[in-house]
Symmetry: C2
Subunit: 232 residues, 2 copies
């Protein structure tokens, strides 16, 4: 296994506990490739030929229906996507495109399913990963159904703040138009939402966010670990 990137993949929870042999044979069939920005890697509805691992860059998972489209999630290094489709040998439910120049490992789904049958540690890791994914989507669903767009924006800011270390100044990690789509609103409304949060001590200029009055914002946003926590 000459490729040093495989060591990074090996460290992922998904692959760290499996037998050496099995990991090696998984990687033998895999290939790593560089993609420019804005390349559509997979298209929803197509058969799931590869499990993808983002090594560097970032990938947008999105979906389209009847001329509309929406961002479902962003995948950042190092993690996988399209695991559920791979396991079920079912069509992709989402499309994926690179947001920037990205390095991506492609592991044939067939191999993943074969090793999944052979390696119990791998199978267990997949369970944990899928349970995690499931719970993340449930949280997103609750966010969408229980909160207004202003509340979603407020809670997103608090999550992002925590993610960035917890200080009062931090950066948005999305393009705003895509953030709007992820949050289920239009870019115009996101702009207005940022303004609407000014009374709670929020300032957004460009990609830089300042939270002047943490208590005020939290009192409005009412963050809840059952919706907003990253783990568990």
């Amino acid at each position: 296994m000459p490729n040093p990137e495989y060591q990074d993949i090996r460290k992922l929870d998904l692959f760290s506990q499996m037998a050496d042999d099995n990991f090696t044979s998984l990687m033998r069939g895999a290939y790593v490739q560089n993609f420019p920005a804005q390349i559509e890697l997979i298209t929803e509805g197509e058969p799931s030929d590869f499990l993808h691992v983002v090594i560097s860059g970032s990938v947008d998972l999105f979906s389209v229906w009847n001329g509309r489209d929406t961002s479902m999630a962003t995948v950042r290094p190092i993690s996988t996507f399209i695991l559920a489709a791979t396991i079920k040998d079912a069509p992709y439910l989402m499309s994926a495109r690179t947001l920037e120049k990205s390095r991506i490992a492609l592991i044939p789904s067939q191999d993943v399913r074969a090793i999944f049958d052979a390696d119990n540690n791998f199978a267990r890791a997949i369970v944990t990963e899928l349970a995690q994914c499931y719970r993340s989507v449930i949280k997103a669903q609750k966010d969408l159904k229980l909160r207004t767009s202003l509340e979603r924006v407020a809670n997103y800011l608090l999550r992002q703040q925590r993610h960035a270390g917890g200080g009062p100044v931090f950066a948005l990690d999305f393009e705003k138009r895509r953030l709007a789509s992820v949050l289920g609103m239009t870019p115009e409304n996101l702009s207005r939402a940022f303004k609407g949060l000014q009374p709670y001590g929020v300032k957004v200029t460009g990609t830089r966010v300042t939270i002047d009055n943490q208590a005020d914002l939290e009192n409005f946003a009412k963050p809840n670990p059952l919706i907003d926590s990253f783990k568990s």
Copy 2:
């Protein structure tokens, strides 16, 4: 294993392939109980002590935040719920309540995790189940984010029609207020949505739905297997 209900549970995909010994030991710790309607079985945020199996009746999975609540899904016999929380040993993300008099098997989560570690067939079945659950939520998410409420109602009717056999007359399987909540709208708007679908040949009286013009409705609803199919 004296209890004949265990044979029904055994037939579930989740349990059908596991070793006899392991199934028996799972069931030894389990108990089956009757609950009246409108009983809250579990509350979000609590530790996941039991995997639940609905044997008869039906269960509403719902969630609450800041005084609002929303129905996430309905569980009907025979299937399980709260699998992801059980596996991850994490708090429930949703609450559950019986919709009617229901018979429910409770399997200690600890046992499920123990057997999961010991029985590879069981672990694999869990993977399949979780992948299925994950994909269902993704579909629901797409339904919510890509469609207006009128479109959601139209597509729900088409799904329900197919589920009921495909004929032009069928019954709603929810109370309307709960259907509204599942679809992410108010009961008032659901009423109006039914009226709004009259031009497409839809008649709803009480729980009875008639679709006079299948082609018209489908042309409006634009159902898509990547959102609306039950399987895969």
